[in-house]
């Protein structure tokens, strides 16, 4: 009995850590897709960039972990400005196929670019001393880094939700997601809002990619390999929703670690089947509006 219980805790713990990473990366994608109606297959590129910035700062320039993490988020957010202004903006409200093409093109460029700069091998993330080893949480002992990941993720999620609910920016954002034309007519500068939101989402993705570097390994194929995960979180959670993807990420994270524990052979299979079932039942996702 004790074994089952500790296994359940272990599954929940690792699932939660994975869910935090998935959510941080995907929430920006959900807003981009919901607000701008833009199929952004290149979102993983920003997460990958975050991972590369973090590991490079730490491994090459010996920057401590926390500043390097913040640096990753800021660099990715800044880099996303020109990309949004020069490329993405042209295709808002355009055809899905063009968006798919443009973003697939960016993914391919990122694969080649990352191989050119960092080589084909995976970039190791060496957590600082205070985060290595294990912590005893009473029930069982868990890896310290993942505990930190969960705490960090929870703090960010809380901050994000408060920001969306309580700030002026959040009000404008919610208004625009609800009804873009109405928001424009009452004088919200949606073009600037898009830009800021995109940068914020990309920065969060960079942060998630950096934090999650030991769960989703940083290598040149990152954006392509993990695309299905990010899209599943967004599609199941519901476009434009802030909370939907959180529930979806939790489902996916816990299901992923649960199946890996119980049925390692067929884990991925069940997850995809579950995704299909949910999308059939609710094509707009769990929290998507009709």
């Amino acid at each position: 009995m004790g074994d089952t219980l500790s296994a359940a805790f272990s599954v929940a713990f690792h699932g939660l850590a994975f869910a935090m990473v998935l959510y941080l990366i995907s929430v920006g994608l959900s807003v981009t897709m919901g607000l701008m109606g833009f199929v952004n297959l290149a979102h993983g590129v920003f997460a990958m960039a975050g991972g590369y910035v973090l590991t490079s700062l730490m491994n090459r320039f010996a920057v401590p972990f926390v500043p390097a993490l913040l640096g990753a988020a800021v660099v990715v957010a800044l880099a996303s400005f020109p990309i949004e202004r020069l490329l993405y903006r042209r295709l808002y409200g355009g055809e899905e196929l063009d968006q798919v093409l443009l973003t697939m093109g960016l993914v391919f460029i990122s694969v080649a670019g990352a191989t050119y700069v960092w080589g084909p091998l995976q970039q190791p993330l060496l957590p600082p001393l205070w985060l290595s080893g294990a912590v005893d949480l009473g029930i069982d002992s868990f890896p310290a880094y993942r505990s930190f990941l969960i705490l960090c993720g929870a703090a960010l999620v809380t901050a994000l939700w408060l920001g969306i609910e309580r700030t002026r920016f959040g009000i404008r954002l919610r208004a625009s997601v609800d009804n873009l034309r109405m928001a424009q007519s009452v004088g919200i500068d949606t073009s600037r809002l898009f830009m800021t939101t995109f940068a914020l989402g990309s920065g969060l993705a960079g942060l998630g990619g950096g934090l999650g570097a030991d769960l989703l390994a940083i290598n040149p194929g990152y954006a392509l390999q993990n695309l299905a995960y990010f899209l599943i979180v967004v599609a199941v959670g519901g476009l434009g929703s802030i909370r939907g993807p959180f529930v979806a990420a939790l489902l996916l994270g816990v299901a992923d670690s649960g199946f890996k524990y119980l049925l390692p052979e067929f884990g991925a299979f069940f997850i995809y089947a579950l995704t299909m079932a949910i999308l059939l039942w609710r094509p707009r996702g769990l929290f998507g509006r009709a």
């Binding site: 899905e96 798919v100 093409l101 443009l102 697939m104 391919f108 899209l231 299979f269 299909m276 094509p283």
Partner: protein, 320 residues
């Protein structure tokens, strides 16, 4: 225009025009001009068929799919597994691949086509990932990560052996492509084909005039899947190898790219985009396979920003 002239103009769309012979003249000429590149040529011809099948769903029915490789790979694996387990007859192998892909198209189409937009995109991606995952797990029959090996393809009609230089392969792929193209051309100009264009352009109106939209979309999805299966089977039989990459997202993505380079929804986009892409890939990959990705990515961005409609779209712009 009087009604009879309008009907005539409409009917004239069916007639073969001189320029439609161009791809075939070029394909036959290549056989004599580039005898050293017949193996690559055969692959190009088979891939044109794959792109043509994608054009049917994407260009004609307006279904944006990220999972077309599922059908391509299914056809390849079925033809390949048959050949590896004692049934190397190529033509029945191809047909078996086509049937298997069509069945998958029917089953997944029932589910996938109930949605539209992003959900549909996701569903196609999920189906393809599931098929790839299944092929990976069934390594006892598919060879898993190592790929399917030990295929033995018999001579065509018991007479024409597959040779090392690719003479047979080239002509085999060319004949298959030609037959499929004839069928596809006929279909897109038929009332059925016109109704697909109608569904792409204005679904509501098609519903309003009583067209069975769901059924038509499913039928074209199945036909397209079968053609993709034939294409996969051709590549499996001529290269005698099938790997998991046949089912990958990358494969689904590149076929879209090739099609878009040529031009979507024009029936001939595949004939232009695929050779351009594959010849360039062949050249650049010799220099460095990684940078190929860089250039193709840049090209895609360029197409979206400056050259919507692909090569054939550029021709249209010049004509105006």
């Amino acid at each position: 225009m009087t009604p009879s002239r309008a009907v005539e103009a409409f009917a004239r769309r069916h007639h073969y025009r001189p320029y439609e012979a161009l791809p075939w003249v070029a394909a036959v000429a290549s056989y004599f001009v580039f005898p050293d590149y017949l193996a690559l040529g055969a692959q190009i011809l088979a891939t044109i068929l794959f792109a043509l099948s994608a054009d049917l769903v994407l260009g004609y029915a307006g279904i944006v799919t990220l999972g077309h490789a599922a059908f391509f790979g299914t056809g390849a694996y079925v033809a390949g597994i048959l050949a590896a387990h004692g049934w190397g007859e190529p033509i029945t192998g191809l047909l078996a691949g086509a049937v298997a892909a069509a069945v998958l198209g029917f089953l997944s189409g029932l589910v996938v086509l109930r949605t539209t937009g992003l959900a549909l995109l996701m569903q196609t991606l999920v189906v393809a990932t599931m098929v790839a995952e299944a092929a990976n797990k069934a390594s006892f029959i598919t060879g898993g990560d190592d790929g399917l090996q030990g295929m033995e393809v018999w001579p065509i009609f018991g007479r024409f052996r597959f040779d090392l230089f690719g003479h047979t392969s080239y002509l085999y792929c060319l004949s298959a492509l030609f037959l499929c193209w004839l069928a596809v051309r006929r279909m897109v100009h038929s009332p059925f084909g016109r109704s697909l264009t109608g569904i792409r352009e204005n679904v509501r109106r098609m519903h309003a005039i009583g067209a069975p939209v769901a059924r038509r979309r499913l039928i074209i999805y199945i036909i397209s899947a079968a053609l993709a299966g034939i294409s996969g089977g051709l590549i499996a039989q001529t290269t005698q190898f099938v790997s998991l990459s046949f089912l990958s997202l990358e494969r689904s993505g590149t076929v879209l790219i090739m099609l878009i380079i040529g031009g979507v929804g024009r029936l001939y986009g595949a004939f232009i985009g695929v050779p351009l892409y594959m010849v360039a890939q062949n050249r650049f990959s010799e220099i460095d396979p990684v940078y190929w990705y860089f250039w193709i990515g840049l090209l895609m961005v360029f197409i979206v920003v400056f050259a919507r409609g692909g090569v054939l779209g550029l021709f249209d712009q010049f004509q105006r």
